[in-house]
Chain length 199, copies 4
């Protein structure tokens, strides 16, 4: 029973945050979304904070999986291929629109004042940077690689942020295109490109 309930409640949490935001996502609203009573949340997660932490962890795991799956599927071990997979994974992000996106952004803001969330946040940020940095390092000198990794990480997060905030639906295709193209520019003096067409 437990894993089912936990997943139900995590999904309900994202639905509630999507609906009214983290500040108004009360335990009762979450419970209503999950079709259970409010009391059960304390039972399974020890309290609201526990549920929020579990939800953030879930989102981060989804992202991590999305990237890892694409990298595992690569037939080509080139830096470009890996970086491309990272970009794809970040804009898959399980469900780049709706509940997940708003929950993600809410946690970003919240994490600045909650050590538990902050740690999760930090680990995730570093992983993105470290992965990119490692791949760039295979083609660029150290300083260049570091800057490239910082720039591409910022680009990915920025595209994602602006996409989440914009009233229109997230245009993941456009985001992927801009990110890939930025990558190409960073590696412009090297052979192949990620973007087939420069429309």
């Amino acid at each position: 029973m437990e894993p089912i309930r936990r997943q139900q409640l995590i999904d309900a949490t994202m639905a509630a945050i999507d609906e009214v935001g983290l500040g108004e996502a009360t335990i009762m609203r979450i419970a209503r979304h999950a079709g259970v009573s409010a009391g059960i949340i304390s039972h399974y997660f020890g309290g609201k904070d526990g549920l929020l932490e579990a939800t953030m962890r879930h989102i981060l795991t989804d992202l991590s999986n999305a990237v890892a799956a694409r990298r595992r599927a690569l037939t080509d071990d080139s830096p470009r291929a890996h970086i491309g997979a990272i970009i794809e994974g970040n804009f898959d992000r399980s469900q780049v629109t709706g509940p997940a996106a708003k929950t993600w952004l809410a946690f970003w803001a919240s994490s600045m004042h909650k050590p538990t969330l902050q740690r999760l946040q930090y680990v995730n940020d570093r992983r993105l940077y470290a992965n990119l940095s490692y791949q760039f390092r295979r083609l660029l000198p150290c300083d260049e690689a570091r800057n490239a990794a910082r720039g591409l990480a910022a680009m990915i997060d920025g595209l994602w942020l602006r996409g989440a905030l914009a009233p229109e639906a997230f245009d993941a295709e456009a985001a992927r295109y801009l990110a890939r193209r930025y990558c190409d520019q960073l590696l412009v003096h090297h052979d192949h490109t990620l973007t087939a067409t420069h429309t």
Copy 2:
């Protein structure tokens, strides 16, 4: 008296958000920061929402002024110069560290569910994009210019976001460098560059 108190309370709001985050920034805490009683907030701003809106408006105005001042100070009317000024202004952002940064991020998350903040947010986003787009348009074909503007806007926001979230102090110099360099890459087939040295 009123303008003094309003400014005091807006500053106190940012201080409180910096300290504990938007969710825990109660009017009593804000009042304590300002050294006044809690009741006065409703008196001057009609309620907490009024204060938050005024605070966000204040931050946006600061940003707008920072950009406008730099553009007015230009001796060179070239697109590169204007874009450079926009970048500088966004990373001045009055006080890119501490209170203002956290407040900004908190509003980003909050704006998704509060129409009043959302409108402010939207206007600001569009302005950054429109300004960049206009300058790029002077050097690039339409589609290219649009993508360049989208990319640079995302880069700016992404650098800012990662800077605000990182536990270390915001490295505005590095952010400016990466943004300027991205700009140079976008305009690579044109004459002058923004970045003097490509360290």
Copy 3:
């Protein structure tokens, strides 16, 4: 559980109004009278207004029942009998003294500025008038009947009002006697009387 709590809280509301008046009847005082916590009031009635409305509705229902019961118990279908039953019912008024009386008067004053209460008030007023009017109409010409109904309705309310305001306990017997006697005078040219003795 719900119906029990609701009744408890309605009773407690009347007790609190009896004790300190509507203006000072805070939800904490009401809750203390009911022996529950203050928060539960919002839970069951949605807020203080909901509780007050429910309380007024309860009082009106009690009055309505008191009249209806007496009229159902009549063996005699004459207008005099019905009017007598209406008078009796109005001075039974469940509990013509103490809590109910003060609550009633408080609502009278309050209803002038709260549309919800006003509607309840209005329906009740019209019913008393309509019932009396109908019965008088069986014995008197139209204009006469209307005036008689207006007069007797005013007399009933006036006796009740003065009884509630007087520091002494409400003398329901005297009130009934005066009302019945007024009725006899209105029907003086017709056969039977309601008042056995004209002391």
Copy 4:
């Protein structure tokens, strides 16, 4: 200055009660009606309670004057004439509609829990009863006179109450007619009548 301000503030109090009821008649609203600052109320009346008491006293004085003036103007010293003047005075009541009426009713309810107002209320009630009783006593045996006074007092208050509560404007003419006619019925075995026509 003082008498002017006091009168201004008493008028403003009635206007505020007319507008939103006693419960919502805040000092600031009253002050706004009077076109002065809120602080001045405490200065002239010692506080809100003082202002309310002064206002009630003012209304009672107006009523008292209205009755006294009519009785002084009588050329006929008969009981019927005096009773008629009392009825007229009570339905003049300075301004039987609007502010005064609502203020009056608000004080009725409030007086049950405020000793100061209660005393004023009590004195006023007794005076109406005593005056009527004295006049009836000149024509009727003691018991009869007492009941007649009680009945007419109740009738007057009841007509007034229903008039104040009804959504339509107070029909003072109809009220006077019903009261005079009731008086005639009480004195039916004596010569002259108060009501010219028995429509």
